[in-house]
Point group: C2
Chain length 230, copies 2
DNA sequence: GAGTGGTCTAGACCACAAT
DNA sequence: TTGTGGTCTAGACCACTCC
């Protein structure tokens, strides 16, 4: 048996789906729904409150409850940890640390990280293998103040991501995905054919109110894609 | 003044954030929180229920409430309508209809659309301009049964997307993003340099329990990226 | 002032899991 | 049987918006 609040949610949702109630329409008030369904106000309230948190309705105190703007026609791409992703496919993940050292921040990178040029900066370059085939080259630059022990980690077993979410709790993420030809060194490491494009994810993370790290994730175009469904 | 349920939510959340309660830990029961905060059970219940719907906690009837698995380190890319996106940048969008006709479905495409080879199929190819520079070439194949009037639309003013969300309410979406060299005709239309890669979004939509359409959105790698923040 | 939503109480009965 | 969460009732007081 469906609970009462569920019954009411479905009833409201059906009215919106059918087009009977359109965007910005005023829907029946709580007391009205109470009369209609013969339940307590708390039950009606829960139904309407949940639909509001699901962005199906919007409420204004003193005014009423309205049908919300229909959701964007949007596609959500979820980029998971490369390690988990490979494991989920039932394959073996291996990481090879190519670079792990402190460098001096230069002009453009310094600006992106919020550091002054010349300030120290951690840089790692890690190649991720899926069953012995390289699939991702991960360049990462980390602000030392946010993760002082970065250079002491064993990134053969823990990914920088896994370490950073603990060391510098994520506050904000900014990202972009593009298609571009790889730098020569990148193409070589990923064993890519000449002229083959890369799918690149650029990501900047914030922690404790400041930039924590910047990462470039390079993938061979012929062997990698971001995919999903909803 | 913060409402009671909010107070309790924050208190629980703080305990998880600080590490005091870790993943899969059992948290105090509802009666226990009722005693602790001196409120009615409904108030505690709302706090815990909301944290559960926010995937911070998981509950098992008869067992207890536990700290949920920490959320994935994930990146969400939202791909909006190209038209809205261009408008949001304050630029002018224009669409040029290159192809709009019925064709016979062929092998691979027929299978992807759930049609028998030879069955009729609508095909459109539209070039989207941002301030007179081509930014997206949209190839779309539509199942006639799902949108019989597809060929009669004016896709210079309405995008196929806008039409389809009305004609065939979205039920499910499957997509992938990859980097690849464009077919010759595509590269030419997008005014791309030789050897320049494309950022391609492939999307399949379902409506009324069946595949409704398949789309290939091609973007010049040098002029387009999927981006966002959260 | 009348109507709306926001929140809360102090009970209640039920389903489910562990013992 | 005990303890857990799932749901519900019949009230209540408050803040807000509109007339």
């Amino acid at each position: 048996m469906k609970p009462g609040y569920r019954e009411i949610k479905d009833w409201i949702f059906a009215r919106i789906e059918s087009g009977e109630w359109k965007e910005a329409d005023l829907i029946p008030s709580e007391p009205e729904l109470v009369r209609q369904f013969g339940v307590a106000r708390m039950t009606v309230n829960r139904a309407v409150r949940e639909l509001t948190s699901e962005q199906v309705l919007t409420r204004v105190q003193g005014l009423g409850t309205f049908v919300a703007q229909p959701k964007y026609q949007s596609t959500l791409v979820e980029i998971k940890s490369i390690k988990d992703e490979i494991a989920a496919r039932g394959h073996v993940h291996r990481a090879e640390v190519l670079i792990l050292k402190q460098i001096a921040s230069d002009g453009a990178r310094a600006e992106e990280l919020g550091l002054a040029p010349g300030e120290p900066l951690f840089h790692s370059r890690i190649l991720h293998y899926e069953d012995e085939l390289p699939v991702q080259l991960e360049d990462r630059w980390v602000v030392p103040a946010q993760a002082p022990d970065y250079l002491a980690q064993d990134f053969g077993t823990t990914t920088p991501n896994e370490y950073l979410v603990r060391a510098a709790p994520l506050q904000r993420v900014e990202y972009s995905i593009d298609a571009r030809l790889p730098e020569a060194a990148v193409g070589k490491r990923l064993k890519m054919a000449a002229g083959e494009p890369c799918l690149r994810l650029h990501r900047r993370t914030w922690s404790r109110g400041a930039v924590a790290s910047v990462a470039d994730l390079w993938h061979a175009g012929s062997r990698y894609q971001f995919a999903g469904a909803f």
